[in-house]
Structures are given as C-alpha cells and as structure tokens.
Subunit: 231 residues, 2 copies
Amino acid sequence: MPVERPRRRIPEATVARLPVYLRILIEQANEEVESISSDGLAELAGVNAAKVRKDLSYLGSYGTRGVGYEVAFLVYQIRRELGLTHDWPVVIVGAGNLGQALAGYGGFGQRGFPVAGVVDIDPSKVGSVIAGVRVRHIDDLDQIVQTRHVNIGVVATPPSAAQDAADRLTRAGVTSILNFAPVVLAVPNGISVRKVDLAVELQILSYYEQRRMGVGLQAIGSSDSGRGASA
Amino acid sequence: MPVERPRRRIPEATVARLPVYLRILIEQANEEVESISSDGLAELAGVNAAKVRKDLSYLGSYGTRGVGYEVAFLVYQIRRELGLTHDWPVVIVGAGNLGQALAGYGGFGQRGFPVAGVVDIDPSKVGSVIAGVRVRHIDDLDQIVQTRHVNIGVVATPPSAAQDAADRLTRAGVTSILNFAPVVLAVPNGISVRKVDLAVELQILSYYEQRRMGVGLQAIGSSDSGRGASA
DNA sequence: AGGCATTCGTGCGCGCGTTCACAAAGTCCG
DNA sequence: CGGACTTTGTGAACGCGCGCACGAATGCCT
C-alpha cells in the first residue's frame, strides 16, 4: 500500500490553519453539506478566500471549478496531510491541576490523541487515578514512551520543573512537545515544541486594550490581534 | 501626570515576544541580576540577539552601549508598554471543567489579571464557589463588567455555546476575548480575539511528526514549529 | 588621556506569506 | 450544443518581519 508522499513543504502558516479548516469541514459534513466553496469555507474560518484556495492547493488540486470542494474528500485529504489517519498517543508530565484537567479533557482522545499515560515526580501523586488513567512515576516514562509508541509529550508541570520534564521526554524518545509551562524550553535540534501560555495571551490583549485607551479619542483603530475574526 | 503616549505602532510579532522577555527579566531581577545584554536575553528567550535589540528599540533607546540593559528599568518599560501598570480584571464565561481550572489557576491574579467573576448559563452551577469566587448567572454579566470595569472576557464554554458567550461579552462592553473553545468567533470590528486551541496545537505537532516518519530515512529536517527553542 | 573591547541601535537586503487579479476549467440552462 | 456564469488554481506584486552587518556610543584598562 503506497502511502502517498507529502507533495511539497507546506508553509508553517498554512499548517496552522489546516486544523481549523478540518474542524469546520467535519461540522459541515455532520450537517449533510456535501460541497463547499472557498468563499464559504473562508467565511466560516474567518479568513480570506484566496488564502483558503492557496492553502488547499498545497494538498493538491482537489477542487472542482465552478462548484467548489467535496467536503468529505477534503476532510480525508487534510486528515492525511496532517497525519491524522492514525492515533498519536500522548504522555502528560505533571499531575497537578493542569495535568488533571488535561487528562480529563475529553477532546484529547476523541480527536486522535489518546492519553497513553500521566506521570509525576511526586510519589504521593503516583497511583491515583485521573479520568481512568493511573498516575505513574516519572521514572516509568521511558517504558511508557516505548511500549505505547509515544511521540508527543505534554509538559504540565510548574515552571521550575518544566525543563527537566522536557529533558526526560526527549531522552525517552519523544520528538514533539506541547508546553504549558511559562518557560522557554531548550531542546535538541529536530524536536518540535509548541507552547501554550495563558499569561502571554492575556498580556498581548492587555497591550491592545491599553492602546485603545491611550488613543483616548477615537475607538476605531482595528487593533486586531491578527488571529481574530471579525464579523 | 502625563502618561507617555505609545511611541509608534509595535509589530504584532514583537508584542507577542515582549511578555516572554518580561518574564525572563523578572526572573533575572529576582536573582539579583542588575544588567543584561541583548545576547544574554536572546539566549534565555531562545531568539536572535538582533531581534531582541530591535524589539526593545520599539520601546525607546533604553540600553547602554558597551554594557547592556538595566534589568529593573527594562521591566518597568515593558510593563508600561504592555499596559501592565495596573490590573486588568477578567470575567470567565463557563464554569465547567475548564472554567474551574482557569479560575483556580493562580497565575491569573498574580500576574495582574484578577478574576472579577465567573458566570454560567446553567442555574445548577450558579452559587457554587470556585477558588474563592462565587459562580453567578450569565444574566449578571453586564453588571459584573460594568461595576468591575472588565475589559477582558474569557470564553470557557462548550463549542456550541461559545458564539453566544462572545456575543454577550461584547454586548456587555468587553473589548478583548480569550477564546478556549474550538470555534472561530465572529465579533464586531475593533474587538481583539486570541484563541487557545489544544486540538490545533496537537494537530500541528502531528503534521511534523508525520513528516518526520514520511521521510523515513533522514531525521535531520529541522521541522521546528516556529515557536520553539532549540539548544 | 587615549586606545581597545564591548554592546547597542538600525539601515538594508532577503525570504515568506498575504492578497489581488485573471485565465482555465467546469457547470448549468435554454 | 453553445454561451453565460461560477469557482478554482496560480502568477505576480506587495508588505512585513527576520537577520546580517556595521557605525556609534560607552566603559574599562593602562
């Protein structure tokens, strides 16, 4: 079975939008919509129609001129390109508030990222069960990663422990890390890291808020954060 | 007292990095470090030194050639520019798992974003107390926003309720929204929206993982996600 | 005081991503 | 069957942000 090779390198910005398109397309499919135009999809995704077409063109020429894109087929293609044709088990490091919330968050497993394990360094946390997953000691990390073929690790530790968690993850063989700790992780070359930082997001909003006030007179300035959508 | 005007428009990319610099600088200040060079800060932030200098130059010429930047002063300047000289109370819509976790997350209040209120549409949730904050009904949103002078709203509802939450927030006068629901929000012009989407982040990682495997032979490709740091 | 080492501030070129605009390709209808 | 209409796919221009490289400014040492 010849798994088709990725056509070309897809720009980072496009990769970041594909999941959004995918979610929308799945919604449309659930509502029995069979076909959608770049215009329609653009509106739902809050972006420019030309951008949608260019983004989708990286997957191949899967549209029909005069008609649009077949929803089901597009879902399949995006899934394939994003590597979502099979599950990616993840391991969560840190069983504190955040780790527990993440483990309990249904959207994980349902979307193809089952929780292969939750580990913590604190022996008193080991053994407790969160959302059906037993917390294990961090020393078991290697074993979990290897037996469950985990490629993605989630850092949900306090800031001070985050770098150590990342080190252990990479040493265990994990090649992608999703970091929730407000820390800049140092990782070996070739390891992907994405971070989710609440405080940073709020502070960015704060900047634009302050700017709005600073101007004081006109409230026009479209100080959109760049990731927002406007009606 | 003349509150200095924002000098120029600061690029979005820079605004997104300032909070990172700020956190690092505060850490350094706590460790009694009085001065730091763009090189040093760059290393800690995992970015290019020239970028650091250019970013900081948007705030003004606050460095000393041959020496570097005075940490305490830089902290003050970044704080001022980001509008962090005073608190920004936030209101959380949705008292489910996520809403509770967010309300309980200490990093909120400590970093200048106290939780002014948590609201939910479900009467059975109203009245319960989360992390010292009593959950109120969503109909009280307007009152909370006005009496507490809230500018920032957090959407922590299920996807199906997210748009309604955003509508209510903007109607109540909120001008910035942090959206945790996997939905593209439609908001009036001039409203800032930032989103935090778990599934999207994981799917982006999935893409690069799949790519790594697809290539099959070399494991070199520096498939960094663009927001990561490498050692 | 003078020279040297260090580090900032920034002009400039480059590459990426966004957007426009249009030809190509297909549908639909009379 | 032909012509009008719709929508895709993409070439090209534009703009932004990144990083280099270097002049300018400051501190330090002799």
